[in-house]
Symmetry: D2
Subunit: 285 residues, 4 copies
């Protein structure tokens, strides 16, 4: 699969399509977009591997001059072998609904990933994780503010995560704020699920905030993690209707069903290289 | 129709139901709610007028001691004759979609109201209004900041509105900020449609803000007008999905369909006395 | 909790509310409805158990004459102690997504039920069920049409189910057609999830049917099981948008997320006695 | 704008993209799809007219050999000048909500079409149509079954429609069944709005059917008119939630808001050549 971005000009589609046609590539799915604001061109091309007479490395080598000729120094592109399973690590705290949901999708084969590990700052989700045959690591965090202990815990998480070189690090209701240097290190690979329809109700206790404001719909947002809290590029959002009969506890319960599905969709799209980021916004092909 | 609110205690439902049963009232629709946060009890009772052996004034007189016995000094209630058409005044600027929509609903009989007047700070919507047989008043506003001319314009609007003693003053994409003294005067009767899913994107150009943030759904909010901008009690909200292919102009276009329907629903519920406000939030029966 | 239904007339609400008020009952939630078509009155009253000076059996005994005086012979009512956990049995085949979802809700405490057993006509879901500490029974069905073996298998299922006297029998993508005598025996307690927006696409392979018709939304329906296939009273439905890019396999995948949430909602409402059936339709309070 | 379809094979995208690039065409929007079932390839290419050094006729002449080389005899394609306003005729009966909605969209400039005429088998919508400056033709239909009079009325409608050679004939709640020869004549240009979520509730009184079945969502469907009633290719659908409190009259009222928006979207997409039909299903680019 090829994703490619550069400043728009005529002939890019023709250039890529001709390259693939000459290589005999059978395009399974192709998508194009130009952002009218920034003039940035995006494309994603899914090619059947067995239609090509060479391997992925050779494809990369041959595409390199094409990419340069079309986008010069600004060209951003990657070619991935989607036949290879994607490595994923999940971070959790106590709330299990997103983890249960992802484990169920993996178990049923819907989400065909290599789930390497689940890491929790609490251990309440250890048993269910291990029952699915997935390693669980408990990394306790200090109960009281203690910058040093907190930094040490994140160092341990960083080590546990990075040894898998994961395509995605999923914050599945992980209730600790990731430090800036890890946001940078995992840029474009760390996905968070926030339990509000961002940009409303940033930060803590969004369902309480929603209740106080009296909104008639609540939502959830899957976004890339960036150093600024809950401000990263949005991958997916959805909402559900609520009304005056819903107490905060009902919002929490109803919201979970939205969180689960929004996170699962966002993760799938990310792992299929459907999500391209430019200027703080995403294109989802 | 009776709406009633007071601090909750046992026996309120029995008290009201027994009062109505003894009067022979045929309850068409009844709704009850207690807010767990504030302990406030709300009810709305729709009674068939012809099932009562007396008129609305007599019903009010007879209900008064019942209301006092149930809620004491804190009881808040009103009894309206829904057989009487509700008087409505609409304020507009240049954008016509909400006005067209309301005029169409009135013309088709779906919205069975006494639409007294449309007032615009521009006159582009005068012709279509008058084609529907509704008076249109043009009250120009100063193009440059001019507090005195602006105040004079609002004085004129106040006079034009208040002569109809309307049950609802509808800000149908009226692009002027209503001064605090009018917000107070029209409290609980002035409805605004804001073109975002509040509390996101308060103020000017919400679709531009939504585009910049890269949200995946856009929305609209119908709320009561209060002195704090876009912060009044929310009556209704809805959203529509957008994606990276949508430019700001597409958001504007798609959003209109949500604005129209959200405003129409909010207005209907308001005129049917379905919306009860307490602690900055609404109960919509 | 009291649910009550009878032909409508004046004074029913007053009668029930007065009865509860005199008993000192604190009404947590009350709902009323009269069907305009059939003239049938429905109510559901949730009363705090600790607000009553007697137990559930005494409440039943005291309510009996009230019910008779309001609804005569036609009165239909029940009083349940919601403090008691509801017993549930789940039937499955090979598809696990609904089971995974329900197990996750039970494990997280969201669905606070007494899940007695899972019964499968295949055993692929045995391990995950037992990992959650729930007994799994494998009841094989004949691969070829064999009415006797099939009847024997259903006899075994009947025995396994009935020994738990369950409040709900959940067909969580159970791919065998329940024989009429079991539909009768489990009437009002057996819930099915059908993977289409009924009444469209009754019977087998609804996603294939939906694909062939080219619909732009697909759905799922939770309904009570009746002898006529997929024709029982509908408890809940929902839909999700699809488009021309979605192959049948995409419909299957996207549909699962709707099936799960529709079944979970329907089951919750059923167990909370929120679903009242009359004339083939449901009232969901 | 170019739309093109043919059996899929490698090199089609490259062929079209190279043709456009060599002509200097600036592609504003491009979409591709291959139906996995039928192996049919679809594309739509929106090119800025001023980026081409020749006119639409010349573009057609030059594209013809390209189309033939890519798709042979089976190639289906058209090139339209989107700078030219699309001609539309609307057919109505008594229900005005879809007509009001379309007139409002035309008046506000949102729907930038050449609305040539409105034709009604009743005249109740004549005044509002003329108030918008659009000609209205009243073609009365026989009240009692009278095949000859009915055929004569349709002959008159055919004449009134065809003199405008419209790009779209919109049945905006036109309550007469179009005879097969007109369905053929207007194939791919006549759009109907049906007030149900097809294929549920084909034919008359779908809201009554929906009420009787007790569905929890109602919908509307915009589809191309074909000789088989309500069975044409679906362009767009949407739904809205209803519940037991909604009488048939409420379904009718709520459904109107869905009908209006579904018809408006379907018409827009049709007029922008976004809707391609193959094997009874639509691709909507």
């Amino acid at each position: 699969m090829i994703t490619f971005g550069c400043p728009d000009r005529t002939g890019i589609v023709a250039g890529i399509a001709t390259f693939l046609a000459e290589a005999g590539g059978w395009i399974v799915e192709a998508a194009y977009h130009t952002d009218p604001d920034t003039g940035w061109f995006f494309t994603r091309q899914e090619v059947r591997a067995d239609s090509l007479p060479f391997d992925v490395d050779e494809l990369r080598a041959r595409f390199e001059p094409v990419a340069r000729s079309l986008g010069g120094d600004q060209a951003q592109w990657r070619i991935d072998d989607t036949g290879q399973k994607r490595r994923v690590v999940i971070l959790v705290s106590k709330e299990g609904h997103c983890l249960y949901d992802l484990l169920g999708r993996v178990a049923s084969g819907e989400l065909d990933i290599d789930l390497r590990a689940v890491i929790g700052n609490h251990d309440v989700l250890a048993d269910i994780t291990r029952a699915h045959g997935i390693p669980f690591h408990h990394v306790p965090f200090p109960a009281e503010p203690d910058p040093e202990a907190r930094a040490a815990a994140f160092d341990q998480i960083e080590k546990l995560v990075d040894e898998h070189d994961p395509h995605a690090i999923v914050l599945a209701r992980f209730m600790q704020i990731v430090p800036p240097h890890l946001c940078e290190r995992w840029a474009g690979r760390a996905l968070n699920i926030h339990h509000s329809f961002l940009p409303s109700f940033v930060g803590a206790r969004p369902y309480h905030q929603a209740y106080q404001r009296g909104v008639k719909l609540i939502g959830a947002t899957c976004h890339y993690v960036t150093p600024e809290l809950d401000a990263g590029p949005i991958i997916e959002q959805d909402v559900i209707r609520v009304n005056h009969e819903d107490a905060v506890s009902d919002l929490v319960r109803k919201g979970r069903d939205i969180e689960k599905v929004v996170l699962a969709r966002g993760l799938r799209w990310h792992l299929e290289n459907r999500v391209l980021v430019h200027a703080g916004r995403t294109v989802v092909f």
